[in-house]
Structures are given as structure tokens and as C-alpha cells.
């Protein structure tokens, strides 16, 4: 084949130039991609740096301990104690996880193992819809539907049956820790159930089939083969949900009652870290007030960062872990 050999053997000047251009193009393209990837790291650094810079006046003036452990928040008198907000954030997130985790795991099991096949697609679709609803709309619904329901139905019921517990005492307002916790539960449901579902999918089929072949019922196979394998991943999913609950702002701001106090009762109005930032940041005057709010943002950032990192590592460990010991 002489013609073909000729074409390869005699590179014209044009081809060489083209090769050089394409090498240059390759290098430029690679550099551009690395730059875009690096931009993500720059954003992370920027967030950290900016939070540090803005909150500096507060850390300097008040000190970490006073800011985070005193309970008196009165910007007019220059008093900045964030404990009521931290308490509110922790209590509402705890309620949210306590409610949402069992529901989400049930939901994920329904979607992957237990549910009738015909129902799975519509249920999965509704969970996706739930995940797409903006948080201010959840807040609107919480304010005008859930809060009245808590005030007129749930609270009287709980007070009649368990009213001797300080947890359920107090006037019937509706706004408060429980309202915020319940709305958070609804909001983090899609996160936890979809990650749990992903984790369940990574469980080797042979484990479940082995259990079923030994005569286990479907539930027994899930309890003895599937859940133990998936447990770290489900824990990770719960942490992801917790991270969302800690930082969720609008819905909580609208239903928690916005009162900077600490109450034992779940029906009492409280406050949360994101809510106080949302309510006061735009009108904050003075470097210390602004700084204190930014410092709370930094606490929130640190908390969610740790939770998210831990959660991702756990979920990955399950997904990548065929050789992992089944504990």
C-alpha cells in the first residue's frame, strides 16, 4: 500500500504546526480545567477567611467563652451571649433527627425492599418534590397550618396525657421548639431517605439472597443482613440530615417564636443560630453586634463542615467497602 505509507512518512510543514497547536491547546485546556477545579477550593478558603475577618471584633471584645456560654443577648446593652441560640438549634435539630430518622429509614426500605413495586416510583417522585420545595414555603405552611395544629390539637393532647412532664408544660402558643423541630423533620426527610436509599443499594445482593435462601422472612433478611452492613452509611445519612437541620434558616425563623431565652418546655418559644442571624444581621449596628452574628455564622459553618465531612466519609466507606468487616 504505497499511497498510505506515503501519507504517513512525509509529514508536511502544516501537519507539524498543527501538532504543535494541538499540544498548546491541550496544555491550555488542562490548565483551564485545573483553574476551575481550584476555584472550588478558593471558594472554601474565601468563606473561611471572610467569616474570620468579619467575626474578629466579636472574638476580641467578648472572647470565645463569654460569647458561647452566657445567656444574655441584648445588643442595645452590648450583651452578646449566644447560649439560647445554641440551645434552640440543638433542641430543634434533635427533635428533627428523632422524628425524621426512623421515618426516612422506613421510607428507604419501602423504596428499595419492602414496598409494592407499583408504588415505588410515585413515592420516590413525591420525595423528590419534597426536596425541591423552597424553605420559605415550608415556613409559610408551618406558620399557618402546623403551628395552629400544634396549638389546638397536639399540645392539648400531650398535656392531657403527659402534662406532668416539664417538657410539655406552658401556655398554648404553637410557635416554639416543637414546631421548628417538626418542620425541620419534614425538610430533612428527603436528604436522609435518599442517602439511605443509595447506601442500601450498595449492599451486596448475595448477603440478602443468602439470608432469604436460609429461610429468613423479608424483614429478617433486612434486619440480619442488610441493615448491619448499611449501618455506618445510615449513620452518615443521619449526620447529613443533622447538618441540614442545624443550618436551616427560613422555616425555623418563621415558627420558632424568636425569643432569646432557654426553656425546658418544647412548646415554649425559642431561637436558633440561623434565625438570629437572619433577623438581626441587616439591622445590626456596630462592629461588635455584626461581629457577634458573624461569629455565630462561623460556629455554624464549623459544625456543618465537621458533620458533612464525617458523613461523606461514612457513606463512602460503605459504598467502597466490599472487604470491610460486617460489624
Amino acid at each position: 500500500m504505497p499511497t498510505r505509507g506515503d501519507a504517513i512518512a512525509v509529514p508536511a510543514g502544516g501537519a507539524l504546526a498543527r501538532a504543535r497547536v494541538s499540544r498548546l491547546g491541550d496544555r491550555a485546556w488542562a490548565a483551564a480545567l485545573v483553574a476551575f477545579g481550584g476555584a472550588v477550593l478558593v471558594i472554601a478558603g474565601l468563606i473561611l477567611l471572610e467569616l474570620g475577618r468579619e467575626s474578629l471584633p466579636a472574638w476580641q471584645r467578648l472572647g470565645v467563652l463569654r460569647l458561647l456560654t452566657s445567656t444574655d443577648w441584648d445588643p442595645v446593652q452590648d450583651k452578646f451571649g449566644a447560649l439560647p441560640f445554641i440551645y434552640g438549634t440543638l433542641v430543634t435539630s434533635a427533635i428533627a433527627i428523632a422524628v425524621a430518622l426512623p421515618v426516612s429509614v422506613g421510607l428507604a426500605l419501602f423504596l428499595s425492599e419492602m414496598g409494592p413495586k407499583r408504588l415505588r416510583a410515585p413515592v420516590a417522585f413525591s420525595i423528590e418534590v419534597l426536596a425541591a420545595i423552597p424553605s420559605v414555603v415550608f415556613g409559610l405552611w408551618g406558620l399557618f397550618v402546623m403551628v395552629p395544629w400544634i396549638r389546638d390539637t397536639l399540645q392539648p393532647l400531650l398535656q392531657k396525657t403527659l402534662g406532668f412532664l416539664p417538657l410539655f408544660q406552658g401556655p398554648r402558643i404553637g410557635l416554639g421548639y416543637l414546631a421548628a423541630g417538626l418542620i425541620l423533620a419534614v425538610m430533612i426527610l428527603p436528604t436522609i431517605s435518599s442517602v439511605t436509599n443509595e447506601v442500601l443499594k450498595t449492599v451486596p445482593l448475595s448477603l440478602k439472597e443468602g439470608a432469604l435462601a436460609l429461610g429468613a422472612t423479608r424483614w429478617e433478611a433486612i434486619r440480619m443482613a442488610v441493615l448491619p452492613y448499611a449501618r455506618p452509611g445510615i449513620f452518615g445519612a443521619a449526620l447529613l440530615g443533622l447538618g441540614r437541620a442545624l443550618g436551616e434558616t427560613m422555616a425555623v425563623t418563621m415558627v420558632i417564636g424568636n425569643s432569646p431565652e432557654i426553656h425546658a418546655s418544647l412548646f415554649a418559644p425559642g431561637y436558633s443560630l440561623p434565625a438570629v442571624i437572619a433577623n438581626e444581621f441587616a439591622e445590626a449596628t456596630g462592629a461588635v453586634h455584626l461581629g457577634a452574628l458573624a461569629a455565630l455564622g462561623m460556629v455554624l459553618f464549623g459544625l456543618t463542615l465537621m458533620l458533612n465531612a464525617l458523613a461523606r466519609l461514612l457513606v463512602r466507606a460503605v459504598a467502597h467497602g466490599p472487604g470491610r468487616a460486617v460489624a
Binding site: I47, E54, M298
Partner: protein, 282 residues
């Protein structure tokens, strides 16, 4: 045999429990959608889409400026976030197997869990403080910072769906790598990338918290990027927490408009994604 019956009963119990979980998730959703539609629909009219807000009790007010404001904010955010986010996603898919790739992937995963209000504080420091005023630029910057990590991750997923054989065929023909990336891989993944973009835009349009102290609000029309701007979400918030029945009604109607916007974008994204998948299997 009784033991078997007991085991079956336990199995049935837990199956029912899972069903209950489904109910617990679907009921609030149904209630929410029903109320937004039923209470919001009564306030829908042409004037609601085009008029400025009116004081309490004065009829005929709308959220026209807030809709325009949301469009402006999301537009500014997209201008910054789309190239960076999509670029980062392509980086992860094409060159993301090294240590830098792992780091970038992990960082964007972790960043997508950062509360949006925290990002608002950052945008405040970066844009509001130097400009000495609340502005659409500040709000857009906040939304952009939120969009980049999620955009990077979804873009990566879609670009990775492109079969390796396509890339190899192109390289085997002597096409340079960058041209293969742009003309073959990205072109094939275009539908998926558009899906990722639509999802990011719909999420940004629904954000409220980071706008409260960056773009603030505005009672009037504004299309200038350096001025405070109304947005649909902040308007819903303000109407909802007001003590007036008239404004509550407007909050529901505005929520319906927001849900239609977000839902429309999501449905469009899903359609595109489905087409994409089918093409991949063909």
C-alpha cells in the same frame, strides 16, 4: 409452626411500619401542595404578575418587581457560577482521578452542605461592605457561591455518563485531547449539563436566607445591579410574618408563583435528563 406464624407476623408488622413512614412523608407534602394551590389560586390574576406591591388593604397589588428581582439575582449569579461550576464539574470528570480531583470533589461535597445563611454573611463582607450598600450584586454573589459546589457535582455526574468509547474513537482519529473534550465529550453531555444548570438555577431561585442582608428588598422596580432588589422569596417571608390577613393571602399566592417557577424548572430538567439517559442506552 407457631414460630413461623410469629415470624410472619413480625414481617408484616415491619412492612406496615415502613408503609407508615411513607405516609408520614407524603401527608405533609400533600397538605402543603394542596394549601399553596387552593389558598394561592384565589389571588392569581394578571395584575399580580405585573404590578408593584400596594400598602395593606389597597387592592390590586402584585409582586411584579419581586419576580423581576428574582430573575435579576439569578441572572447575576448564573453569570458567575455557570462557567466556574460547570468548569469545575468538567475538571472532576476529565481530570478528577488524581489527588487534586479528590480534594476538589470532597470540598464541593462538603461545601454543598454549608448553610446558605453563612454564605450570605460572606457575600455581605465581600460585596455589601465595600460598596457601602445592599445590592443585587451582593445577592447574586451569595447565590453564585451556593451554586458552584452543587453545579460541579451534578455536571461531573452527567459528563461521566459519556461512554469512553466515544472519547477513544476521537483520540484514535488523531483529534487532540482538548478538541476531543470540547467537541465530542462536552457536546455529547450537553443535555446533561443543561439539566445540571436548570437544577442549580431552580435551587437558587428558591433561596431566601442569604438575600435578607445582601440584596435586601425594594418596594419599587429595580433592574440596576448596584441597588437593593426585591425577590419573590423575601417578599413571601415579609408577607407571611406580617400581621395582616391581606398580606397573608399575598404570601400564599406568591408561594404558588414560586412553586410554579421552581417546579417548572425541575420538570424541564427531569425531561432533559430522561432524554439524555435514553440516548445513552440507544
Amino acid at each position: 409452626m407457631t414460630s413461623l406464624r410469629r415470624r410472619r407476623a413480625v414481617n408484616g408488622f415491619w412492612t406496615a411500619a415502613c408503609g407508615l413512614g411513607v405516609l408520614a412523608a407524603v401527608l405533609p407534602l400533600a397538605s402543603l401542595l394542596w394549601l399553596v394551590v387552593s389558598r394561592g389560586a384565589s389571588g392569581l390574576s394578571w395584575s399580580f404578575f405585573v404590578n408593584l406591591p400596594t400598602p395593606v388593604g389597597e387592592p390590586g397589588g402584585g409582586v411584579g418587581n419581586a419576580i423581576a428581582g428574582t430573575a435579576l439575582l439569578v441572572g447575576i449569579a448564573s453569570l458567575v457560577a455557570l462557567p466556574v461550576g460547570v468548569g469545575a464539574g468538567v475538571f472532576l470528570a476529565e481530570k478528577g482521578d488524581g489527588r487534586l480531583g479528590e480534594l476538589v470533589r470532597f470540598t464541593s461535597e462538603v461545601l454543598s452542605g454549608v448553610p446558605s445563611i453563612v454564605v450570605g454573611i460572606v457575600a455581605y463582607g465581600l460585596a455589601v461592605v465595600p460598596m457601602r450598600r445592599f445590592s443585587a450584586i451582593a445577592g447574586g454573589l451569595a447565590l453564585a457561591l451556593l451554586m458552584v459546589p452543587t453545579l460541579a457535582r451534578t455536571t461531573e455526574e452527567f459528563v461521566r455518563l459519556v461512554p469512553g468509547s466515544l472519547r477513544e474513537a476521537s483520540l484514535a482519529l488523531g483529534v487532540p485531547r482538548w478538541k476531543t473534550s470540547v467537541r465530542v465529550v462536552l457536546r455529547t453531555a450537553l443535555g446533561g449539563i443543561v439539566t445540571a444548570v436548570l437544577l442549580a438555577v431552580s435551587r437558587a431561585a428558591g433561596e431566601t436566607a442569604p438575600l435578607l442582608f445582601t440584596s435586601l428588598n425594594n418596594q419599587y422596580w429595580n433592574l440596576r445591579p448596584d441597588q437593593p432588589t426585591a425577590s419573590l422569596t423575601v417578599q413571601i417571608f415579609n408577607y407571611a410574618i406580617s400581621p395582616y390577613e391581606d398580606w397573608h393571602q399575598k404570601a400564599w399566592t406568591a408561594a404558588l408563583v414560586l412553586l410554579m417557577l421552581v417546579g417548572g424548572l425541575n420538570l424541564l430538567a427531569r425531561r432533559l435528563a430522561r432524554n439524555r439517559m435514553m440516548e445513552g442506552t440507544r
